[in-house]
């Protein structure tokens, strides 16, 4: 009886060890296998990692995904001859999720940053965005320039893991930074008057200032950073990267990107889809 158990234990451990070894070998040699492109074609589905950022990507009333990034992903999938499938993921964990293969590509307005680039590969930029500030009318009265916010008495709310958080650290290192899981919580905090300002990618701050004219205002006329936005895929897959880069060049030359950007960022026609 006792000996029996010992053998079962040894067998189980050996099987696990073998699987683990196999997995490690498979992991270290991804280039020998198929790239993202082949996997997607074979599956017939492009799995896109994204997160809700108004108006880049969001769910409409019916639970369908809509937004600028969604249009981009759908057209990309269409031209690959596959279907796009959206996997909403928390922004702070989106790169680990890509690396562990939860999806094939991040199309979610991800800013190209050197520290991100150490972990993933980026395509050429298909869009540019800038950081903008929306501030509380009473708390930040008289604030006119970036330097006004760089003060130990000022607190600023941003979304965790975004380039807005990086921009806040760079431009206003003295201010207290409060991190939230998404922009709606940060804006809520601002409306409650617990922070002086929220930093986020344009046009969100402007939209919020329009929606709450009595409480919020835009201290700066223009965005204070300019950031390139690219697709992110796993490292070591240059064939797929080449395809993505050239796809971007084509749709940019067509003027399609500009037209879509106008629809989502400069009009508010899409708002009735949400409410």
């Amino acid at each position: 009886m006792k000996r029996n158990h010992l053998w079962i234990a040894i067998t189980v451990i050996t099987v696990f060890a073998l699987f683990a070894a196999r997995e490690t070998i498979a992991q270290t040699a991804p280039a020998a296998g198929e790239g993202m492109l082949e996997q997607v074609m074979k599956r017939g589905v492009l799995r896109v990692g994204m997160s809700t950022f108004v108006p880049w990507a969001m769910q409409d009333k019916a639970g369908n995904f809509v937004g600028f990034e969604i249009d981009v992903a759908n057209r990309l999938a269409q031209e690959m001859g596959v279907k796009a499938e959206f996997i909403p993921t928390k922004w702070s964990g989106i790169i680990p999720a890509l690396l562990t293969g939860k999806f094939d590509i991040i199309i979610g307005g991800m800013g190209i940053r050197p520290e991100r680039n150490l972990k993933v590969n980026f395509s050429i930029p298909y869009d540019h965005t800038g950081m903008s500030i929306v501030a509380h009318k009473k708390l930040a009265a008289g604030f006119r320039k970036l330097g006004d916010f760089n003060n130990a008495n000022v607190s600023i709310a941003v979304r965790t893991g975004t380039t807005a958080a990086a921009a806040a650290k760079q431009w206003m290192p003295k201010a207290k930074l409060r991190l939230f899981d998404d922009e709606s919580q940060a804006i809520q905090e601002l409306l409650l008057g617990r922070v002086h300002a929220v930093i986020a990618s344009a046009p969100l701050p402007a939209f919020q200032a329009i929606a709450n004219p009595g409480k919020l205002f835009l201290p700066l006329k223009e965005d204070f950073t300019r950031e390139p936005i690219g697709f992110a895929i796993r490292k070591g897959d240059f064939d797929s990267l080449n395809f993505l880069d050239n796809w971007i060049r084509v749709v940019e030359a067509e003027g399609w990107l500009k037209e879509r950007k106008h629809h989502w960022f400069e009009t508010k026609e899409w708002e009735r889809l949400l409410k």
């Binding site: 799995r47 019916a62 639970g63 899981d181 922009e183 949400l274």
Partner: protein
């Protein structure tokens, strides 16, 4: 037994008035002082919506359904696993007791949030790729896919759903193991001895004498664990399972209707768990009358 008649006293009236006033004050503070615009009609359409002449479930209702599915499956599978491990906990073999014991101690001494991430990023992913589940699902016939969608989640969300389910099962099974162990150990030693005296083997003792009695004591606790599972299921929202909490968070980040959506979520969870706890109370009292009658 004498039944106390419920009387409506002046104190009750005062309490009701005070509670209403407190509620109104809160709503007023949010509405007027914080300048919050309540948009309840908008929120309702996330529950049910007119779509081309027929009623369809909105995204919150879909999330609610996922929560129910997730909780029911998790409880069912955790009961299975927990029963096996519970039996191992009271086994004569040291090996069995050690395996089940270390499992229970390990899981119960970890925060569930940590467990979710470990299963999602490490265990779940490795095992899923190893088994090739995703390819299998995608190549399945539309009929099979429809069945899977009905039972679990749409094919696209299936691997995430399973990772979430696996976490919940692992977590809840540790508690169910203890419920089963306690149930078996609560049976008097005399029952074992009597069964032994009848010449039954250990397996037969368990099956014919101990378990039927233990089950009666286990069942109410098990039903209570289902309620816990429903509440714990909110935690898998961190790995993007589209259950009630996650759907709500997504909606809030798209629409900024923070208060309305959190209140709706609270009400939905409460309706679900409260229904179950009434059921559990019924079950308990019916079992008590049965056992006292027999």
């Amino acid at each position: 037994m004498t039944k106390n008649k419920i009387r409506f006293t002046p104190l009750d009236a005062v309490l009701i008035v005070l509670m209403l006033a407190a509620g109104l004050f809160l709503v007023r503070r949010i509405g007027v002082d914080m300048n919050y615009r309540w948009q309840w009609p908008v929120t309702l359409q996330y529950l049910v919506r007119m779509d081309g002449g027929s009623w369809t479930a909105g995204s919150l209702a879909q999330g609610f359904l996922t929560t129910v599915k997730l909780s029911l499956w998790a409880t069912a599978l955790a009961t299975l696993l927990g029963t096996i491990l519970g039996l191992m906990r009271v086994s004569h073999s040291l090996f069995d007791r050690l395996v089940a014991g270390s499992y229970v101690e390990m899981v119960r001494n970890l925060p569930p949030l940590v467990l979710v991430f470990i299963v999602y990023f490490f265990i779940g992913d490795r095992i899923m790729t190893l088994l090739g589940i995703e390819g299998l699902i995608r190549s399945a016939s539309p009929a099979t896919q429809a069945v899977l969608t009905f039972l679990f989640a749409p094919p696209a969300r299936l691997s995430g759903f399973f990772a979430g389910l696996a976490t919940l099962v692992l977590y809840e099974a540790a508690y169910i193991t203890e419920i089963v162990r306690a149930g078996i150990q609560s049976i008097e030693q005399g029952q074992w001895e009597a069964a032994h005296a009848l010449g039954l083997s250990r397996r037969q003792q368990l099956r014919y004498v101990i378990l039927p009695q233990a089950l009666q004591r286990i069942l109410p606790a098990l039903a209570g664990q289902l309620i816990s599972t429903i509440k714990d299921s909110a935690i898998v929202s961190v790995i993007s399972i589209p259950e009630l909490t996650f759907q709500g968070l997504e909606l809030m980040s798209a629409t900024y209707l923070t208060f309305e959506i959190w209140i709706t979520i609270t009400a939905l969870y409460f309706i679900l768990t409260f229904t179950f706890s009434i059921g559990v109370r019924r079950l308990e009292s019916s079992m008590q009358t049965k056992s006292s009658a027999g």
